[in-house]
Amino acid sequence: MTGNDIVDMQVAATESNWRRKGFTEKIFSLQEQQYINNAALPDAMVWRLWTMKESAYKIYTRQYGGRFFTPKKFRCILLTETTGLVRFNNIAYQTTTVNAKDHVYTIARTEGAERVEFINSCFPLPKTDLSKQQQFIYKKIIACYHSITGELKKNISVNKDKNGIPFLNCNSNLQIPVSITHHGHFAAFTIH
């Protein structure tokens, strides 16, 4: 199972002032604050840690349900420049982060799932309103699944369950988890 989260760096710089008093203490552990203080690029580190937490939260809520806001309890451990672990309630998720100049993108996986193949796509978004962007992303997911499986597009749809968790439905009997993220001018999805 996968979860993902993306941050548009330019938009984040205008939307979020993580340097404001109290901000980092509310969401980051002491260890994570150390990572930020020691980072050559603190902004990139803040959003790397944040997307790690968010992507792990997405898997957790898909697995166990519920909705809550406890970013600080999702503890990040950095392993390499790109990989890490997020621990929450004795569960660990593995993460891989792409730290590009204009965006930070993390995919989290359930532990032991590193050999399981999944589809991943990250792309720029047209500058329109939120609802049109959602349609654009859904179309991309359907086109991607169509090109890989050969299933007819008319038989593929993307739907959210009552908790707002997205799934891809195919031929009305097959239901596959999809994780979707968008921020500013970037979006991404994973299937499986």
Binding site: V7, R20, G22, F23, F68, F69, P71
Partner: protein, 84 residues
């Protein structure tokens, strides 16, 4: 503070972070910060810090966990104010 006054104060606090104006215009107790107002989750931290500053209270981690909609925010603010 009346319920209406509290909702008005909250409206002022969340306004800069709202991405869905329609949700904002219809804001009431049942409004969800993320789903209805499309506030991004990093800005939810700002909302919480702004509430702390506005009401001069501290929102601990346990309370923060529930801060997903207006109703929870109102309950938490009232509880913290009564502790003062």
């Amino acid at each position: 503070m009346t319920k209406e006054e509290l909702i008005d104060k909250l409206k002022g606090i969340v306004k800069p972070y709202v991405k869905n104006e329609e949700g904002f215009n219809n804001l009431d107790e049942n409004t969800d910060f993320l789903n209805d107002l499309k506030i991004n989750s990093a800005n939810l931290v700002d909302v919480i810090l702004d509430i702390e500053n506005e009401f001069d209270i501290i929102i601990d981690n346990e309370s923060m966990e529930k801060m997903l909609h207006v109703k929870a925010a109102m309950e938490i603010i009232n509880a913290k104010l009564s502790e003062k």
